[in-house]
């Protein structure tokens, strides 16, 4: 190797070392939705990765050791909270041995702490009621106003950890809010079509979307949260569908649709697979697209 080549490589290495890429905040999130919103706010000042995929049930992610490698050097660990990740998060955080992202660390971000919650039990709950989240319903990202809150939380956290880029985070937040507001204006006709329409949902994960769209969930495929449908429950649900005129069963792509198809065959109701998260379908690569797609599909289905 000539001296010139060696010097060029050395200079290149030094330049890389000094580039903003090296100084990026390393952000790991539990879901794709949080990752996308973090990416909108952080822009090229952060490096974002996520543990779960959008087509995967976030309750049942395997705590694979390869995730530990992502987390051990992370500056921020942002998660949905409310025990959504209780089955796997403790193993990953223990495995990562990273003080920054342990509870109490500067990068430990329980996003639910910034969200007004639905379904928070004010009296005791127990597991006879199924997989009830004792701290509240964790599927809050499906309400765009919560998407805005998540973005604001990320802006505050990134600014705290990386104050020299505060202006960039602020500008990115404003751009995201403007994009979301424009999208909200665009889907007003669909919201009007959905308002008050009776629907059946598979799991309680659609409660926030229902709260936003004002669709009326008249029944759930699951007899109790997290419990697979039983024949006797389905018999009752079929009567509910007939009585209320519900037009659609909405369900996530990770549930087997055979049972929903059976109910559809008995009632004429449509089965609508709605991705609950970014990446739930290949084309849904960002949060605003996800909401736009779900609201559009829902409006078409309830006609």
């Amino acid at each position: 190797m000539s001296t010139t080549k060696f010097l060029l490589i050395a200079a290149g290495s030094l330049a890389l070392y000094a580039s903003p890429a090296v100084a990026q905040l390393k952000v790991v999130t539990s879901t794709t939705d949080l990752a996308d919103i973090a990416s909108e706010v952080g822009g090229n000042r952060i490096n974002v990765r996520h543990i779960g995929e959008g087509y995967q049930d976030p309750h049942f992610i395997e705590a694979k050791p390869s995730f530990v490698l992502q987390l051990r050097n992370a500056d921020v660990w942002a998660f949905v909270g409310l025990d959504l990740e209780a089955g796997w998060m403790p193993l990953l955080l223990d495995g990562a041995r990273n003080q920054k992202i342990r509870r109490g660390g500067s990068g430990y971000v329980d996003v639910s702490r910034a969200i007004p919650l639905l379904d928070v039990p004010r009296s005791g709950v127990d597991r006879s009621q199924g997989d009830v989240h004792a701290l509240g319903n964790p599927h809050y990202w499906l309400d765009p106003s919560n998407g805005r809150r998540i973005a604001q939380l990320f802006k505050a956290k990134f600014t705290e950890l990386d104050p020299k880029n505060a202006a960039a985070y602020d500008a990115n937040l404003k751009a995201f809010e403007a994009k979301l507001a424009a999208a909200e204006r665009s889907w007003q006709p669909q919201l009007a079509a959905i308002r008050g329409k009776p629907v059946v949902a598979w799991h309680t994960s659609w409660r926030y979307l229902a709260n936003y769209t004002k669709m009326n969930i008249v029944g759930f495929m699951e007899p109790k949260p997290g419990v697979p449908p039983s024949p006797s429950h389905l018999a009752g649900l079929i009567q509910t569908i007939k009585r209320t005129g519900a037009k659609v069963i909405i369900m996530e792509p990770f549930y087997a649709r055979k049972t929903a198809d059976f109910v559809a065959s008995r009632t004429g109701i449509k089965v609508l697979i709605l991705p609950p998260s970014v990446g739930g379908e290949r084309a849904l690569t960002d949060y605003v697209q996800l909401l736009k797609s779900d609201i559009g599909k829902l409006a078409a289905a309830v006609q």
């Binding site: 995967q56 049942f60 199924g130 759930f220 109790k224 009752g236």
Partner: protein, 420 residues
């Protein structure tokens, strides 16, 4: 076949209910709306959510554990043994509570986490199964534990018995370590590394002794009189993602220490000889679980191979006294292992099979084999029912034995997930 069974199950009740009888309609409607089902639970929660709390965030609602109580959980592990030639359980019972485990887990302070597991059983009474401090603030991404813990030697041994996919530990583990696996009291140090781009973890321990102190045996001195007599173990874990759905782990372990070995008769008041014993082994696990269908499909193939290594000759004083008489003291090396597989057939049902083989040191190295099949049913994440059949073939001319065992386990409270 599964499709027909599913259709039959789904059709049986709904079709009957749909028959237009008003009485049946009202019963069915009651099931969907009025009883404590998902919609009723949501309505109840909506009712509880008063107007002034609707806009409060979780942060504004205050701490969720104001009294700083530890996570408390209980796991029950019950066994029924319907083996045709009589119970094969240690106490001979047909129905028994094998163990109740009480776990207390919490952060101790900013530097340590504490985990305590108390085991209660009819056979052994109350025992400290595990109790350890974990240092969470060490530099260099080290993790250290101090106390009693499951020894990181092999794969299955790092899992609590109630959480196994089979009812009992493989025979090689039972024979070389103990029926409940292997615990140690001492220090544990581990570090995750990735010099080659994949996950590796190095774990080393130093414990008071290799295995539990045997009851009723007396040797000339305590095995841990010198530091050479302590138990020392090391493990190297290697893990690779093959795809987003499949991964493998190939790991290597070893443990050595001085153990009291029963000599079968009394010499100068002593009934045991202190002898070094080591076990080395390797374990392999392949897992497959497609992310989108992960609730319904998964597959595991796991195998461990291990060798117990003992001195190649009897202690001199035993040899001179016993002559040709066989001694209970193990001599030479014994090899054993198992292969296990499990396939998920539906959201709540799994089928599994295991093949065991070992040179049994308690039977002069007789080649013992066992083949077993299991069906696991999970009503929920917090309960499990297992039915198992095993053909146990002890070798050395002894008769084979059929075993039929049922197991039920349940978990109360927030039990921390088991290692991957």
């Amino acid at each position: 076949m599964r499709r027909y069974l599913l259709c039959a199950a789904l059709l049986a009740t709904p079709v009957a209910a749909i028959a237009q009888s008003p009485q049946r309609d009202s019963v069915a409607r009651a099931d969907s709306i009025a009883r404590a089902d998902s919609i009723a639970i949501v309505r109840e929660l909506e009712g509880q959510q008063t107007r002034d709390t609707t806009d409060r965030t979780a942060a504004q609602a205050g701490p969720v554990n104001a009294r700083l109580l530890p996570d408390i959980s209980v796991v029950g592990d019950m066994i029924a043994d319907f083996s045709p030639k009589g119970s094969t359980q240690e106490g001979g019972q047909r129905f028994g509570i094998r163990e109740v485990e009480i776990a207390l887990q919490a952060a101790v302070d900013p530097y340590f986490r504490g985990d305590v597991f108390i085991g209660l059983s009819d056979e052994e009474g109350a025992a400290i199964e595990q109790a350890y401090l974990t240092a969470t603030e060490l530099p260099g991404q080290f993790e250290a534990r101090l106390g009693r813990f499951l020894m990181p030697v092999g794969k299955q041994i790092t899992t609590h018995r109630h959480a196994l996919h089979t009812i009992e530990f493989p025979y090689a583990i039972q024979s070389y370590f103990g029926p409940e696996g292997l615990k140690g009291t001492g220090v544990y140090l581990s570090r995750v590394i990735a010099p080659f781009g994949f996950y590796q973890e190095i774990i080393a321990t130093a414990v008071d002794r290799f295995g539990e102190a045997p009851e009723g045996l007396i040797s000339s001195e305590l095995p841990n009189k010198t530091l050479k007599g302590l138990g020392y173990s090391a493990r190297l874990r290697n893990y690779w993602d093959l795809s987003e759905a499949a991964n493998i782990e190939l790991s290597f372990s070893g443990i050595t220490g001085v153990r009291e070995q029963e000599i079968g008769f009394e010499v100068d008041g002593f009934t045991a000889a202190n002898r070094r014993q080591s076990v080395i082994g390797t374990d392999f696990t392949y897992r497959w679980r497609p992310l989108q269908q992960g609730l319904y499909k998964s597959f595991i193939l796991q195998a461990e191979l291990m060798q117990q290594r003992n001195p190649s000759s009897l202690p001199r004083f035993v040899e001179s006294l016993s002559g040709d008489e066989a001694s209970l003291v193990p001599v030479g090396n014994f090899t054993g292992g198992y292969a296990f597989t499990r396939y998920q057939t539906s959201r709540r049902t799994f089928l599994g099979a295991r093949f065991d083989f070992l040179d049994d040191p308690a039977r002069n190295g007789a080649n013992t084999r066992a083949a077993s099949g299991y069906m696991e049913f999970f009503p929920s994440e917090f309960s499990k029912l297992v039915a198992g059949f095993e053909r146990y073939m002890p070798g050395a001319g002894d008769k084979a034995l059929n075993r039929v065992i049922l197991q039920a386990t349940f978990a109360l409270g927030p039990h921390k997930p088991h290692p991957f």
